[in-house]
């Protein structure tokens, strides 16, 4: 079992108006085999948490720690974190001109594993994974995310998740902008990876819809850069019925 531990994390960004604190003391522990849903209103810091774990240069960690099985994640470069077993499915995957999906996937797999995958089994694995996510074979020869629709980009994020086989997956609003069919396909992909064993999942979402397809063990509600409430799957049901207004009102009342 592996453990991703976030302790009292404070994160800020530099904006035109000056330094802005976004995460204000987040603590969260995820073990492999567990699925944690991180929910919350816009601007509550959910995506910041995801990007900070992956090491996006825009975010400054002011204090606190992130460790993976005791190893200091914050001391690692972005690619070292990925090789240590962290995977971020991006909310807005970028297009990369000049690099085909085939080339990209093989290069990433080689980097993660430390050796090139065996060509024959690799090609077979990629084809099978693409078929399961209903990705047309022609996408293999297209440049990474170039001209892909929103749904196609998200499917390719999950394709990478399945092929790279990380210890922890952080899914940053993977459900946003998907229709129900695409949502099902993407959820099935995540569930396959979880079922294959040993994946710790951080499922960041604004909506409860995806939780019908991917069952969380824990639900954390994010409000204003901190965890306002935690619970089991029943908390998600309550959020679906009541929305986030309760937390926002509280915040206004205390302010």
């Amino acid at each position: 079992m592996s453990t991703l531990e976030i302790k009292d994390l404070h994160v800020s960004i530099v904006t035109e108006q000056g330094v802005k604190a976004i995460l204000k003391g987040v603590s969260l522990t995820i073990n492999t085999g567990e699925t944690h849903a991180i929910m919350g209103p816009n601007g509550s810091g959910k995506s910041t948490l995801a990007s900070t774990i992956a090491g996006h240069p825009r975010y400054t960690v002011d204090s606190g720690s992130i460790t993976l099985d005791g190893e200091d994640v914050l001391a690692m470069s972005v690619d070292q974190r990925a090789r240590a077993g962290l995977f971020l499915a991006m909310q807005y995957p970028v297009e990369i001109p000049g690099v085909t999906m085939t080339n990209f996937l093989r290069t990433a797999k080689t980097a993660i594993d430390g050796e090139a995958p065996k060509l024959r089994t690799w090609t077979k694995d990629v084809k099978a994974a693409m078929a399961q996510l209903r990705i047309e074979p022609e996408f293999a020869e297209r440049n990474v995310n170039e001209g892909f629709s929103g749904g196609e980009k998200k499917r390719h994020e999950i394709l990478q998740l399945e092929l790279l086989n990380p210890k922890f997956a952080i899914l940053d609003e993977t459900d946003s902008g998907l229709d129900v069919d695409a949502l099902k396909v993407v959820s099935e992909g995540v569930n396959r990876t979880i079922a294959a064993g040993g994946l710790g999942t951080m499922l960041i979402t604004h909506y409860t819809r995806i939780l019908r397809y991917i069952k969380p063990d824990f639900v954390h509600v994010f409000v204003d850069g901190n965890i306002a409430e935690q619970g089991g799957p029943e908390l998600a049901d309550r959020l679906e019925a009541e929305g986030y207004d309760r937390y926002l009102d509280e915040e206004t009342a205390t302010a």
Partner: protein, 438 residues
């Protein structure tokens, strides 16, 4: 709120046209490289450049139209270059080391031409001839002052001849290695002549140090199939203007490849003219501009006969402070050129801050009776978000950058179809990447 929505709408429209993210369509922008100076600058000089026009056009045709561009073998026919002309506005004249001022204030072009080393198949002949050889001038006529100066000043020409019905494959390459003789301004003249139905590959490999103005005539007779690759891999201090004139015979096929890698200032100006129907021209270009390098590619395809085809694909990468690439693609479809099929494309990938790419496709169409005509130009940046994405998949920073650049330039390299060259160019790209401390 409304404004935001409109911005979104515009953005979507661009996306639906299939542009690459981070790529913007480059428009024409005025350059301040050669600021207006003195009484000869500006519009007065522009208007003047039409005086003595010997190639049609004339009054009423704008400076930017290739139909009206002056062509002549005589240096005296070309006015002094001010830097404000359409043809010169991107070129830093001060760095031409006098190539633009031959005949003015005692500027000469009398340095030794590059030494020519030849490797070739037996059937191909390579001769050194005097400037009065009857074949010279069959494929080209200078289109700018610098080329005209070279034409007036070269002493000997090198002529490569592929005999009639000669069949060379991609291994039987004729290579002229042209090694610069130093930094005294010099003129050179090369002719590549593919006779009827000849097939073959000729490589011009420029190395060393030179301040050189060169004319390359490429004469492709009826039914011939010729590939010419011109590699400019000079030392860092070299200055090289190369006017490459392609004459395409009836049903002839020409593949013309420009590779601009090394040198302080390279200005390569290929132009293709069709002398019969059914000709096909493919023009490829690959350039890699480093800090302080000016690499300029200006091409012209003159569709003056029926049913001819042209395809242009130029791709370049830029890195480092002051790296500057210029691509101008002029395509003219004249009134009589019915059935023309043409497409030109330029892509630039900017790898670091401080580099600049200018990209201007110009398509002039004088008849509607054509198969197709199109152009595309995009300049993109390899940005931090792309780097983050690749690194987040475990790929190290330097590998990520190489992955992108290799992929980008490979599209041109794989079209050259000369195995030995492809390998060398891939190596050259690797070297450029390594040199850029990526």
């Amino acid at each position: 709120m409304t404004e935001l929505t409109q911005e979104q709408a515009t953005d979507n429209k661009v996306w639906s046209q299939g542009f690459i993210k981070g790529m913007t369509e480059e428009g024409e922008s005025l350059s301040e490289i050669n600021p207006e100076s003195g009484p000869l600058g500006g519009s007065a000089a522009k208007a003047h450049s039409h005086g003595g026009d010997s190639h049609g056009g004339g009054v009423g045709i704008p400076d930017s139209s290739r139909a009206g561009r002056l062509t002549s073998y005589k240096l005296a026919d070309f006015p002094a270059i001010t830097g404000r002309e359409e043809d010169w506005r991107f070129t830093p004249l001060k760095r031409l080391r006098g190539l633009d001022r031959v005949g003015i204030k005692g500027q000469e072009l009398t340095g030794a031409a590059p030494a020519v080393d030849v490797t070739k198949p037996d059937a191909v002949t390579v001769e050194t001839v005097g400037r009065d050889d009857a074949r010279i001038g069959k494929a080209g006529i200078p289109e700018d002052r610098v080329a005209a100066a070279a034409w007036e000043n070269f002493t000997e020409a090198t002529i490569v001849t592929l005999p009639e019905e000669y069949l060379g494959n991609s291994e039987d390459v004729t290579t002229l290695t042209l090694t610069g003789a130093g930094d005294t301004p010099a003129a050179a003249h090369i002719m590549v002549h593919a006779k009827k139905f000849a097939t073959g590959v000729v490589v011009l490999d420029h190395r060393g140090t030179a301040v050189l103005s060169e004319n390359v005539e490429i004469l492709v007779e009826d039914g011939a199939n010729l590939t010419v690759v011109s590699i400019q891999d000079w030392n860092d201090d070299a200055v090289h203007a190369s006017a490459q004139h392609i004459s395409v015979g009836r049903d002839a096929k020409v593949k013309h490849v420009v590779v601009n890698l090394g040198g302080n200032l390279l200005r390569t100006t290929p132009s293709a003219r069709y002398t019969g129907t059914g000709g096909e021209v493919e023009m490829y270009g690959l350039y890699f501009a480093d800090a302080g390098q000016h690499l300029e590619q200006r091409l012209f395809v003159d569709h003056s006969t029926k049913n001819c085809k042209s395809r242009v694909t130029y791709k370049g990468a830029l890195q480092g402070d002051g790296a500057h690439a210029v691509w101008i693609g002029d395509v003219l479809i004249r009134k009589q050129a019915e059935g023309t099929d043409t497409y030109e494309m330029n892509r630039n990938l900017i790898l670091t801050q401080g580099a600049r790419a200018d990209s201007v496709p110009n398509l002039e169409i004088e008849t509607g009776m054509i198969e197709g005509a199109g152009h595309a130009s995009a300049t993109g940046r390899f940005d931090d978000e792309q780097l983050f994405y690749l690194q987040a998949r475990g790929i190290q920073e330097d590998v990520a950058r190489r992955l992108v650049v290799r992929g980008f330039l490979n599209e041109v390299i794989q079209h050259i179809k000369v195995p030995a060259l492809e390998e060398r160019l891939r190596d050259a790209v690797e070297r450029e990447l390594a040199a850029g401390s990526l």
